[in-house]
Symmetry: C2
Subunit: 349 residues, 2 copies
């Protein structure tokens, strides 16, 4: 029945809650610092150059695909290319974290942000080019994913002018509470640009796209719709319905599952804090789930990784619509043999 | 019908899901750095001295009770007094964070931890004394709370040898995955000592106690029982059943509500990421909830605080068993006028 199914078909079938021979697997941040070949490239180029040079981005995208039997590649890029295209650039120095060129505040700065579709398409064309180059080498048998940050998560960085510091993004929230009209203007612009960016990636060959609401949990539960989900819905409504959208709302999957499903997402990304099987049981049967192994496992013994991966898959009891992944990005300190053990355990499950 | 109800009766009635005239309120970390009178005391004494000197701890406990119409006081102490009593001391320098004297690893160090009840009672007697002094001044009309960290949360600090760094407590989790017998030994000892410590606080006059599972969300959903909840259950089973226990499991209330209820907790502490009314609707009617306003609100405009507090209370539609609180501790940068607005809005609701 499943003879000859390839990784791409497997991935898309799972995303659509159709029958599959086994759960597909990819790993968030799979093209990253835990790979020696990534570090070798990174030693010669800045992060920014790697992201902005299609040949380098495509090469990094493909690195984990050469090593591991992953079912999907995800384009090497960064969620902050969107604010950059809008006129708010950033620098990322590993170890030091993210620095935005300025912290967004006040109407004038929000109004000055670029959201014109043709300008955005031109400025982000390099991401499409990276996808095309990656696809050419990847072929048609494996899935290729695009992605973007959610408007809320991007607003967190833009208003703070910097990275996380423990997820304490107070300035975006203050704008929501105290300047609702300005907040809406910012979110409308961000939604437009994110929709354009995802459409551009789909046109360049992405089989599916993931929206990272990485700072979802800094929203309040009472206002998660207004702060974030409504804008994600708006984006999804502008994308071609046949392309699956994965929404990864870190810390919010269990508490806001119904609202997340209502965004139009076909796949719910789930972090490690949920019992995935319990959560899946109370979701609509046509909503797929993605996750949710502990990223920390990949820093430890391969035997433990195998045990936990098998237990996860067994707990799902063949539920249609499960894409295996971690509950968050793979860490730079992950072990190659642990990743191998994970991919093998999923292949054999 | 409610004529003459005092704060203590109101608090206890809400914790038991009985009729109340209005929801009671207290604020996590209400005795803290946002208060000028706290900072004045702190300028003259170390954090450790304030915690370990009953007169100072009682004074700090009472500071917010003099300023605000709060329904409950919580003893000024620290969750790390428990590891300290077990032989693993710590220092806390505000700004620098927590440093444990050593990072717990290996069987010998775990075995060396003190858990003998009489020794623990002697070493932690100062917490009971602080409660007695606070009660003498507080009187019988307002509730007085004791607290402790959960075994999991304490193990996080003890194994890491330090504080949070973004909640990335990998060492306790590695012990769970790779040395389960040693992990169990550590958790048994911690459960014994936490139970003793809470019993001691109840004997000293605490009307209710809160268990802080502050690092709950570093547990995996698949193993939250084994990592944390089973040990909380064990502790609660040893406490007098008439004393309400509040379990605050940050990041886990929505995803593990049923398991949290099964620990024997009478009150579920809820962080800001949940819609409290939605969550309360799917909980057993005899489980009270505590929370869950955004701590950030108290850094902003009092008018916004009032609006949000009223909206929270209205959303609960008079559900029995709601204790108003923040979704996490009040921040050092909170405004006094914002706290006043919160307490007043709750009193008038």
């Amino acid at each position: 029945m499943f003879m000859g199914v390839n990784s791409r078909e497997r991935f898309l079938a799972a995303a659509r809650c159709e029958d599959v021979d086994r759960a597909p697997i990819w790993i968030m941040r799979q093209a990253g610092r835990y790979l020696p070949e990534y570090r070798a490239l990174r030693a010669k180029s800045s992060f920014r150059d790697m992201v902005r040079t299609p040949e380098l981005a495509a090469e990094v995208t493909l690195q984990p695909m050469r090593r591991f039997g992953l079912d999907a590649a995800i384009v090497f890029s960064d969620i902050l290319v969107v604010p950059e295209a809008m006129g708010l650039a950033y620098t990322l120095n590993e170890g030091e974290g993210i620095r935005m060129d300025f912290a967004l505040e006040g109407a004038r700065q929000v109004e000055a942000l670029v959201s014109d579709e043709s300008v955005v398409r031109e400025r982000l064309a390099y991401v499409g080019e990276a996808l095309r180059l990656a696809r050419a080498e990847l072929g048609q048998d494996r899935a290729l994913l695009g992605f973007a940050g959610s408007p809320w998560t991007l607003a967190c960085y833009m208003c703070e002018g910097a990275g996380a510091r423990g997820g304490d993004f107070s300035r975006a929230k203050r704008m929501y509470y105290e300047s609702p009209a300005l907040f809406s203007l910012l979110m409308e612009k961000l939604s437009d640009v994110v929709a354009t960016h995802l459409a551009l990636q789909i046109e360049a060959g992405a089989d599916a796209v993931q929206i990272f609401d990485s700072w979802a949990a800094s929203c309040t539960g009472a206002h998660y719709g207004e702060m974030s989900l409504n804008w994600i819905s708006r984006i999804i409504s502008r994308l071609p319905p046949e392309v699956p959208v994965i929404v990864f709302a870190k810390g919010m999957a269990a508490s806001h599952a119904d609202s997340l499903a209502a965004t139009g997402a076909q796949v719910l990304g789930v972090d490690w804090t949920c019992n995935l099987a319990d959560l899946a049981e109370r979701l609509p049967a046509d909503l797929a789930v993605q996750g949710n192994l502990d990223p920390l496992l990949l820093e430890g013994e391969p035997a433990v990784v195998r045990r936990e991966a098998r237990a996860l898959i067994k707990s799902m009891r063949g539920r249609k619509g499960h894409i295996v992944n971690l509950g968050h990005g793979i860490r730079p300190t992950a072990r190659i043999d642990a990743v191998e053990a994970l991919v093998q355990a999923v292949a054999e499950a």
